[in-house]
């Protein structure tokens, strides 16, 4: 007997969400049991059935949440830089128009 993890898709093209797990002697029965346990209300569009041992877990927080300040990599942070540059450009243009630039 082995544990199989079940992922279900609610709509065509949608993401697969972890639904739970089943215990079964092989992948064929696991698929049939998954259908019973995780599409009982006829709500799944597709199911993925994965042997738990095929799943590699990554849980090292040094890798997942490095301690340094990496905010500059984030889109939100980059957006702030774009706004800042826009403001500077405006100021330079105004200064040039007023003849304050050499």
């Amino acid at each position: 007997m082995a544990v199989f993890e079940v992922f279900s898709q609610q709509d065509p093209g949608g993401p697969y969400v972890h639904a739970g797990s089943v215990v079964a002697p092989d992948i064929t029965l696991a698929g049939q049991y998954a259908r019973n346990s995780f599409s009982r209300r006829e709500d799944a569009f597709r199911l993925w059935i994965v042997p738990r041992e095929a799943i590699h877990e990554e849980a090292d927080l040094d890798l997942l949440r490095p301690p340094g300040d990496h905010r500059y990599r984030l889109g939100r942070y980059y957006r702030a830089n774009v706004e800042k540059r826009k403001r500077l450009k405006t100021r330079v243009a105004e200064a040039a128009a007023e003849g304050r630039l050499a």
């Binding site: 215990v23 029965l29 049991y33 019973n36 346990s37």
Partner: protein, 270 residues
């Protein structure tokens, strides 16, 4: 439809509905007793599907007869299911402490497999029925039955795979075969149904088709049985009589269980 065909269709629908109700009830007895928790759910769920199909066929009967009969209020000899389906398979625990193992899991699988093969052919034979309501209802039922066969085929393959379980499977199939003729026992007036296209094929041709399909599939697992032999050539009476309301002692027990709550207060509204 001629009066003969109409009367026969009534019996035909009742036999179909009772088949589904009786095996469905027996399947749900496996809740808590199947080989694994997941199978408790799977097999009980198949049972509930069958009970759902029974409801559908009882509703068709209401439509056909225009009478609002309460099908729970029948005497045991008014049920027309095949006798194979009433045999007890799941273990039974009496409150008083008595325990009966009954025929067991291999029998439940063998019976469900043999019955679903029969049911698939029967549904196919009414899929183009000249009585429209039946043809329409059958489409939905056939899609659900697809899963049942998928599941029991998987189990037949598993049980046939190892010596110990294979022996049990063989014994179970043999016991089922002694009752199999009862599935193909025609209801009175069947020729009229076939003549008027209400039913596409008679019981004889269903049995021939069934023997081919089942014989072919089991052969791939190296299993050969006296499938489809006339009743005289196998032990017992072939399980005949069900379509006339004749049943065995195990049916009385099942009927008693099934109707016990209803009989407490037949006038109650649920």
């Amino acid at each position: 439809m001629s009066p003969e065909a109409l009367a026969a269709l009534e019996r035909y629908l009742l036999a179909m509905a009772d088949d589904e109700l009786v095996i469905g009830y027996r399947d749900t007895e496996w809740t808590g007793a199947a080989p694994m928790l997941e199978e408790d759910l799977a097999f009980s769920s198949i049972g509930l599907d069958e009970v759902g199909h029974a409801r559908l066929f009882y509703a068709l009967l209401h439509e056909l007869t225009g009478e609002n009969i309460d099908y729970r209020a029948r005497r045991p000899d008014e049920y027309l299911h095949a006798r194979l389906l009433e045999l007890a398979a799941a273990p039974r625990y009496e409150p008083a402490g008595e325990h009966r193992s009954n025929r067991g899991w291999a029998f439940a699988i063998a019976r469900q497999y043999l019955y679903d093969q029969f049911d698939a052919l029967r549904l196919e034979s009414v899929a183009a029925s000249t009585w429209q309501p039946l043809a329409q209802a059958v489409d939905k039922v056939r899609r659900e039955e697809k899963y049942h066969l998928l599941h029991t085929r998987t189990w037949i393959a598993r049980l046939a795979d190892q010596a110990a379980t294979r022996e049990r499977l063989n014994a179970a199939l043999a016991e089922c075969c002694a009752y199999v003729s009862g599935l193909f026992e025609p209801v009175a007036g069947e020729p009229a149904l076939v003549a008027e296209g209400v039913v596409g094929a008679g019981s004889d041709s269903l049995q021939a088709a069934w023997s081919n399909v089942v014989g072919g599939e089991l052969k791939r697992h190296g299993i050969t049985l006296p499938l489809g032999l006339p009743a005289g050539q196998i032990d017992g009476d072939g399980g005949l009589g069900g379509r006339r309301g004749e049943h065995g002692a195990e049916w009385l027990q099942q009927w008693d269980d099934m109707t016990s709550v209803y009989r407490l207060d037949p006038a109650a509204i649920w």
